[in-house]
Symmetry: C2
């Protein structure tokens, strides 16, 4: 099923059920009013929401209305745990070549669970001089995960999947990992897709804890990335959740992200014209700049400016949008889109 949270002026919003084709929605009021409530009591509430979802898809829901993604908050508007990994080592190899890469343990960091953005919310950044970057990825919302869970057990605790847009402030990020605690300011906020979906919505594209579909990213209306999200995800979602659960339990409503989706570069051309190429593009500007550096010795693509837009979407094999699109504009604290 597909769930979302509509803005209603409150901090937690109103839970809605959204039809598979994202055309219609229905308030879940009779079942639960907030997403966290559902996660807290999933086994009791999910079947009731599933019934409503079925009614909605078959045109039998009594008070259905047209779904509008711009009215959405993050599906879980505030989370008690938000951790993001770098599950695609080729992303790290490109953007942080000086960092040590582990093949057995994912790199992960914890973020601000009170700083989650709706899919069409303006992304407010203090200054364009901070080196504003987007980061397109996938994230899972878990149920309770006991300490010491295996990757397989952790996989079964995944309740919902979403798309994510992690803002980075690249110029506030240390180039060397000399300050182990210094990443707090440079990862200020994260946007999420309009709807969060249960894994069954992905059909056979959900295999081995990964989503085997291309992710599409655009900047200012131009397609810049279409990497395959399952292919180079070295650590699957069960492994990411189990990594956190090694020393603690996770509780219902924890969001665990896989980081920027990225694919390996390929060698193109022959002889003297041989060079590395990334035909599927990029899902953050830092990657594009690293590619340019390798290909021509200079990074020419600028980081985001006020007024720039980022769109992130994933479509199923039927061509329909699965999660709806993240579609955010970067704005100044004064709310305007003109570059300062």
């Amino acid at each position: 099923m597909k769930l979302a949270t509509y803005k209603d002026g409150s901090r937690d919003g109103q839970l809605i059920v959204v039809s598979r084709d994202l055309r219609f929605a229905h308030y879940a009021t009779g079942i639960a009013s907030r997403m966290q409530q559902v996660l807290d009591d999933w086994s009791f509430m999910a079947p009731q929401l599933q019934d409503l979802y079925h009614q909605l898809n078959t045109g039998r829901a009594p008070h259905a209305f047209a779904f509008d993604a711009t009215q959405c908050m993050a599906a879980l508007p505030r989370a008690h745990q938000w951790a993001e990994a770098a599950a695609y080592p080729c992303h790290l190899a490109l953007t942080q070549p000086q960092w040590p890469l582990s093949t057995t343990e994912p790199l992960m960091r914890q973020g601000a669970g009170d700083s989650l953005m709706g899919p069409c919310d303006e992304a407010v950044v203090g200054s364009a001089a901070m080196g504003i970057d987007f980061g397109a990825g996938l994230a899972a919302i878990t149920g309770d995960v006991p300490m010491g869970s295996s990757p397989e057990q952790a996989l079964h605790a995944i309740r919902l999947l979403m798309l994510s847009n992690t803002l980075s402030l690249r110029h506030l990020m240390p180039s060397a990992p000399a300050q182990p605690w210094s990443h707090l300011q440079s990862w200020p906020a994260t946007g999420f897709s309009p709807v969060a979906v249960t894994v069954d919505e992905l059909g056979d594209a959900w295999r081995g804890g990964r989503i085997h579909l291309p992710l599409h990213s655009s900047c200012n209306g131009r397609k810049v990335g279409m990497c395959e999200a399952g292919e180079d995800m070295t650590f699957h979602f069960g492994q990411l959740v189990a990594h956190i659960a090694k020393t603690r339990a996770l509780y219902a409503g924890a969001i665990v992200g896989a980081g920027v989706v990225s694919n390996q570069g390929v060698v193109s051309g022959k002889g003297q014209n041989q060079r590395m190429d990334w035909p599927r593009g990029y899902h953050c500007i830092a990657e594009k700049r690293a590619m340019e550096l390798q290909q021509s010795g200079a990074a020419s693509t600028a980081y985001l400016q006020f007024g720039d837009t980022v769109r992130i979407e994933m479509k199923g094999k039927d061509g329909l949008s699965i999660f709806g699109a993240i579609d955010q504009t970067i704005v100044s604290p004064q709310g305007d889109g003109s570059s300062a």
Copy 2:
């Protein structure tokens, strides 16, 4: 006023008001049932709770009952933002001498807001071989803090203060800051004092964004630390909150900790007998081991074992406990206190 959350089998518990002397309590049911509700709507609810607090202190509350700290969850049982600083540089200088120290910006990291422990909850750790350490400190719960707030503005957004016990797994912590994202597993959970108090409860001990009172820590019933909490806190609470707010807003219910309380060492003895000494003791075992290393060339104090207890408390000038005591036992996942 003093607020706490009683266990009731739910994830958020029941909000109670506690008398100044910590002897009596009263359910806040008619006003709010959960702490997060109060933080979300502070200006409306705090005055009502303050009235109940006054009734309780003057023996006029209708359904008062004896307060029992063992029934408490963390005052805010789960938080959407939990960030901890190292606001006492002498703690870092002792325990992480290889890390660069900034005199202008506090080091901070974000933790797991879904992994907060009640004051008397058992602290479950996977293995004693992980190098289990406690960490006694102070923490603030904030209201909404707009992006770009000054330290003075941030100070005014502090709603409540608490004691904290941050568990560390020292052997999972990299000795060199080579892995910038690797601290997630080594900081699994945090315990908090029975009650959270508004700043006016501290009288003139609350000055310049700091609490000028000694903190008392004991291990297995033996007093090990009594450092003065205001003295060497280089960055005050307003500065810590403003550091986070530089690139984002904070929202009601963010918990910001100041890290392990620590005081500068003093030179004792004369001539050849001269050596560094720390007469006020320590608030984490890593500090004690660093002191031993400096004084005798070998760290002899062991990290915590299953069954070991940690008690943390702060008393006012009247000798009364302000926050109640954190009193936790380290146990294995099987819940027993015997060393594995």
